[in-house]
Each structure stands twice: as C-alpha cells, then as structure tokens.
C-alpha cells in the first residue's frame, strides 16, 4: 500500500506529535507514505474570499498526486475535505477544470478527474481494514476510556465524502479506539463543532463552541479526548486554558491524536509517538507507561 502524504501547512509546524505517530503507525501497518516537498497548501484558507484561486491551488495538489499515480492522504480534516470537494467539483464541472488547467499549464501540471483523496484515518480503515489493524495490536489499552471528536470536515458534506460514517451517528474513530481494547465514550456533545473555523473572525464565539464540549468532557473524566484534525487541536488543546479562563472555570481535558492511541496499541512507546509534545497531557495514560 502506497499513498502520497499531504502534510498541509499546520501539521508539519505545529503538530509534530500527530505527524510522527501517523508515520510510525503507517510503517507498522504496511502503508508507505511518499513525501513530496512541492505539496503545501490545500487552498482552504482562501476559499471564503477567493474560491476561484482556492480551487486552482487544490487542483494543483490533485495534479501532483496524479503525476505520482498515488492516492492523496491528508492528516488534516480541512485539507482532506477541501481536496476531496475540489476533486468532486472539478470532475462535475468540465468548464471549471478547463479554467484551472489553463492556470496550471505554465506550472507544468495538469488536472484530470479520478484522484482519490482521503483522510488518513479513513485510508487505514478502507485500505488496511479494521481486522488487519486489530491483528497487529500487541498491547491492551482496556483500562482506558477515550472520547473521540470527529469534527466536521472528516464527516461532511456526506454527499461528497460520505460512505464511511453517518454524520449523525459516526462510529469510525470509535471502532479504531476499540481495536486497541480501550473503551469509547460517545458523550452527548459528540458531534459538536470545535469552532476553529471562526477563531479568526470572533475568538469569543469560537471559544463558546469549543468550551461547551470541553466542559462536558471535563466532568466525564475520560482518559483523553481523541482528535484527527490539527484545527480542532488549536481549539481543544491550544485554546483550552484561555477558554476555561473566559468561562471562569478550570479544565483538565487531556488531548491526544488517534494515531497516538493506535501507536500505543501497536506496541510503540510514548516517546516514539511524540507524547512529550502534548500540552494537555494524558497523565493517567502516560503514568501507566512509566517503569
């Protein structure tokens, strides 16, 4: 199994624990991730104000994946969603594809429909398969309970990226967490948006969206909240203290990436999975790995 890794802008700078654990997990599961330095931004940051250029930038990445002849796999849900939406839009709008190709031609690139774009987690489920992943597990995390946060662009729009989960009742992250033997908490606010999309426009508003979920999980005393997107991480880990302060309370909600949980189940040590870089540390989890 071979895929082109789309790192995006945020993960390789701010979320090295996610990248490291994703690479390690893929290695164990027999997925070869190919790097290409030319891949950079997915176009999402421009979409709200300049979707024509955002689409060209996304098409640029799709054209590069096509040149490699590989599926494009992203760690960030916004990147995965933006690229999948661009593929869908261009495949259904030949006139837009022609416009984009006129802009890509001077760069020596050409978009053509048919590039497969997925979030890494989905790729693992669909290509490696849950049973094969379970078979590689060497460590039982049965004493821990994790609360998945699916986020929005991992699930929606279902008409474009559906098929894996029902956005109203997602289970894919839970199935992977259970593969490690750990328990899953499908808490009432499971489907809440992190608010990261409005952080730039209105910090208070973004904080209210994330804060409701943090408050709920704080009371449920889960081992950790589990993420698959660096933007959700900005809200739940990066902003956690600031949000608590604004709500005049204190939170201690540990935050980890799904690939870190999988890595522990696959027998890797916390240091190999970048847990030193987690700021909202899963103390209970890490204590179990101390000699």
């Amino acid at each position: 199994m071979k895929a082109l890794l789309f790192l995006g802008c945020t993960v390789p700078v701010r979320n090295l624990n996610y990248e490291l654990s994703a690479r390690k997990v893929c290695e164990i599961l027999g997925v070869e991730l190919v790097d290409d330095q030319a891949l950079a931004c997915c176009g999402y940051p421009l979409k709200g104000t300049d979707q024509a250029h955002a689409l060209t930038i996304a098409a640029r990445a799709l054209a590069q994946a096509r040149a490699h002849g590989l599926p494009l796999v992203a760690l960030c849900s916004a990147c995965a969603g933006t690229l999948a939406e661009a593929e869908h839009h261009l495949a259904h709008h030949p006139e837009e594809a022609a416009r984009v190709n006129a802009e890509l031609a001077p760069l020596g690139l050409e978009y053509a429909p048919g590039v497969r774009v997925t979030h890494l987690v989905r790729y693992l489920l669909e290509e490696v398969g849950l049973e094969a992943i379970k078979a590689k597990m060497t460590r039982d995390l049965g004493e821990f309970t994790f609360a998945p946060h699916y986020g929005c662009h991992y699930l929606k729009p279902a008409e474009i990226i559906g098929g894996l989960d029902d956005p109203e009742a997602p289970t894919s992250m839970g199935r992977l967490i259970e593969a490690t033997g750990a328990k899953v908490d499908n808490y009432p606010r499971l489907k809440d948006c992190c608010g990261g999309g409005v952080l730039g426009a209105d910090e208070d508003l973004a904080g209210s969206l994330a804060g409701a979920k943090l408050a709920e999980l704080n009371a449920r005393e889960v081992t950790a909240m589990v993420l698959v997107c660096p933007f959700c991480n900005v809200m739940y880990e990066g902003q956690q203290k600031a949000i608590a302060k604004r709500m005049d309370t204190k939170f201690k909600v540990p935050v980890v990436y799904l690939t870190q949980v999988l890595g522990l189940g696959l027998g890797l040590e916390p240091d190999e999975l970048g847990f030193k870089l987690n700021r909202a540390k899963p103390k209970e989890l890490l204590a179990a790995f101390k000699e």
Partner: protein
C-alpha cells in the same frame, strides 16, 4: 423595508457564483437555523434570515454584514436541509462577492500574501526543521513559486525569494 431599495438581481448574482445555485431551492423551513452551532451561541446569526435577505435583494445589507463571516463551515446545515440548498456553499458564494467589493476581513489579504511569500500558511525556518530533525522527521521546504504564479502576487522587497527548482 422598502421594496424599491431591494435589488431583485442579487439572488441571481449569488446563484451564478460557484456553490450559490442552491439558494433558489430554499423554502424557508429553518432546519439550518435550528441546527446551526453558531446560531446557538449568537442568536443574531441565522442562516434562514441571511437566505431570506438575499432572496429579497437586500444586497448592501447582506454584503456589508459582519455576520456573514461567522460561519464555522461545519456543514451541519447542509446535512439537514431538505432542499439541497447547501448553505455553507451559498454563504461562501456571498462572501466571495463581498470580498470583491472590499468587505473582506483584513486576514484575507494577509493569507494570500503569506502564501505568495512562503507557499504555505505557517513559516518554516531552520528552527522548525531542527525540531523535525530531532524527532527523525524529514525537512519541509518553502516553495512559493507556484503560489505567486497562481495568485499573481510577488512577495514584498527583501522577503523570501524564489525557491530552487
């Protein structure tokens, strides 16, 4: 509200923008508003109201409203809409028109400039690559050339130049 102040062409303008087509299908059931997480925290943000204002042709009011920039783009509205309006995309179409008329928040210009300068949103220096090397991760590079060409922007004097190709 005076009908004479309304622009009956505005809905067609929005519908002509990519993603804006769905606005024609809205029958005002407010499923979008009921499930909107932003609206739950900011009652003045109401997707159905923004759609109605657009259909009525309240062009200036919609395009200059700070509310249009508050969508978290969670797509919940689209999942529950019985008419495939796809409000997230409709609002993207509206925001694109607003941006062309000078209503975009300052961050929009900065984003394009960062992409033209760095080829990515976040800067990568030796500091970041040293940290990556410590963890055994391969270096990442800044290659802004393609982004400058696509956006038609050159970085400011003295800033990061062309990458080796």
């Amino acid at each position: 509200m005076r009908l004479n102040d309304c622009d009956p062409g505005f809905k067609h303008e929005v519908a002509a923008e990519p993603g804006g087509e769905g606005i024609r299908a809205c029958f005002a059931c407010a499923a979008c508003s009921a499930r909107c997480p932003v609206g739950a925290n900011r009652p003045d943000y109401d997707p159905r109201r923004l759609i109605r204002l657009t259909l009525l042709g309240r062009r200036d009011e919609v395009l200059s409203s700070p509310l249009i920039w508050l969508c978290s783009s969670c797509y919940t509205c689209g999942e529950v809409c019985p008419q495939q309006v796809r409000f997230t995309e409709v609002l993207t179409a509206i925001k694109n028109i607003a941006a062309r008329e000078g209503h975009a928040p300052p961050s929009a210009k900065i984003t394009a400039e960062l992409l033209a300068k760095q080829g990515r949103l976040l800067e990568v220096t030796d500091f970041e690559n040293d940290k990556r090397a410590d963890l055994g991760l391969p270096p990442v590079e800044q290659r802004p050339g393609d982004f400058q060409a696509i956006l038609g922007l050159k970085p400011a004097e003295g800033e990061a130049g062309e990458e080796p190709r």
